[in-house]
């Protein structure tokens, strides 16, 4: 069922998955209330990172840009397991393939800018995690433990981003969406229905940004495709991110699109005109 189109993004070496344009079911009438109402939304085509950005990949970014490494000594979050070595600027050993955590929304934006990408909107994130059929979890509607790194898995921390791939990837082949880490999106936290054009995608505006996917510290009921959290903190030990790229070609961004494909390492075929 999944006819995947995958590219490798040259700058950060990440695998990206093509999500075709079209309608999908967004939101849920279950949960804590901020996911309602369920509504249909049409999105343009985009590419999204198959996995969250790992420590290893984040290191390429900090090496290239001199961006500060995630390393904190504060008593409101236990960072000890995730702090990078500030001298060598290296991630904690053994966690190279784990998602980077202790990153702020601004850090994520800086990474995306360096990679020539952007953060996904919360709608894109949900579409990538859920497909079009309104399922609860990437694998379907049933509550099954040990299909992602939620609290039930008992890992008590982050795990490698591909631990549950490819068996429990989303219908489009996107991995590690629910569980493991909450992921920053570009969207401001506003009530549904989602509307791209109502100001919630302003990257300059002030406000909380939406986090998606739940984490190792949340139970499976929070680690669902539709769960939303308003990120009212700078960083945490269970918050990371992945990036996306638009592929919709219109008069305005045709040049940019060519550029994107020039920079992509391997392009099996150009996206179909929809």
């Amino acid at each position: 069922m999944s006819r995947q189109t995958t590219i490798i993004w040259k700058i950060d070496g990440k695998e990206m998955i093509y999500i075709p344009s079209g309608k999908f079911l967004m939101g849920s009438d279950e949960g804590v209330g901020n996911e309602a109402p369920t509504h249909t939304l049409r999105l343009d085509a985009f590419y999204i990172d198959r996995y969250p950005v790992t420590n290893e990949e984040y290191k390429r970014f900090v090496d290239a840009t001199g961006h500060p490494v995630p390393c904190y000594d504060v008593d409101w979050v236990d960072a000890s397991d995730y702090n990078w070595d500030p001298e060598t600027r290296t991630p904690p050993s053994g966690k190279e393939k784990h998602p980077v955590v202790l990153v702020s929304w601004e850090d994520a934006q800086a990474y995306a800018a360096w990679a020539g990408k952007r953060l996904p909107t919360e709608a894109e994130w949900e579409r990538a995690a859920r497909g079009t059929d309104g399922r609860r979890w990437p694998w379907g509607d049933e509550f099954v433990e040990d299909r992602c790194n939620s609290k039930e898995s008992g890992a008590g921390g982050t795990v490698p981003v591909d631990q549950y791939s490819p068996d429990y990837d989303s219908p489009d082949g996107v991995g590690d969406t629910v569980g493991n880490v909450w992921e920053w999106t570009s969207s401001l936290f506003r009530p549904y229905p989602y509307d791209t054009d109502d100001g919630r995608e302003s990257q300059e505006a002030k406000g909380w940004r939406v986090l998606r996917g739940g984490s190792w510290a949340n139970d499976l009921d929070r680690a669902r495709c539709t769960a939303r959290l308003d990120g009212d903190f700078v960083f945490y030990n269970n918050v990371g991110f992945r990036c996306a790229v638009s592929v919709q070609a219109d008069e305005g961004n045709r040049e940019k699109l060519f550029d994107i494909f020039r920079r992509a390492f391997d392009v099996p075929r150009p996206p179909k005109k929809v």
């Binding site: 504060v74 409101w76 979050v77 002030k206 009212d232 700078v234 960083f235």
Partner: protein
Amino acid sequence: MMHRAFSLGSDTQEMWGLLQMNCLIAPKEEKTAEPAPAKPPSDVPRPAPPPRQPPRRTPTRIAQPRSDRDQAEQLTRPTPAADVRDKVPPARHCLDLQSGHHRIALATSGEILLGRFDPHASANPDIDLSFDDRESLAISRRHARIIGHKGNHLIEDMGSTNGTLVNGKRLMIGQKVLLLPGDRVVLGNHEFLYQPLPGLKAASGPESQVYLWVAFTGRRFSLPPWGEVIVGRRDPIVNFVPDIDLAEEEEAAQVVARRHVKIIARQGRHYVEDMGSANGTKLNGAPLGIGARGLLDLGDHLWLGGCVLVYDVES
């Protein structure tokens, strides 16, 4: 974009340049650039250029891990990196509202913006006069700014509708006036007295109650003499209620994080630490970095993403 929380640009350096050129120190002294002997020299030395945009939440990217046992000691003798007071020396003067109890401690360096909180504004003032101004509505969002330099303070009107008066004289656009103890400053309809800040010890006996009050609504929250309290906004979704819950503070609550700051009480003194809130915290206008602790003095203003809390004592 990176510094969305603190988009109030700090053009202090530029301003001091202008000041030196114009020498608009005192309104009465027209051409004479020489001020009265009691006043500090007008050719104020140019301060070390402040960072144009203080890096948002300059974190203390790791120190040594601290143990709980060390913490009390660290509180009384904070490490240089961990104490914002090293950058902002203790306030010595304040503006005292004559028609009510609102003391505004002025930091000896840096600049603070006085005005009125507006949930829809892109930037909010360091000092919120919403509650004092709730009836007359005469204070502008960005009303006046106070520039501290080596313990002296200059005041400038920010183009407010109703203007700023010092000793009865309305400030002209671009005019900066040096404040002297006993000066009467009027913002809108509110008169403030510029005077030395009373010390905490003198003002607070053992039975006196220290509190935080919300400058937007005037609600008061007492602070315990010992222990720790979290100031934030309750969130029924995640079933979280902080010790001091600002969820009832109308629009001002919208900018406060669930866990915004922690107030640590030790030996009658209160320290504040940001808990990694997205919008950040300022103490008397100066951003409080991640992991930094600030010691609170009477009249200090805590800015939680725009919602301002005043630290004061029952008198």
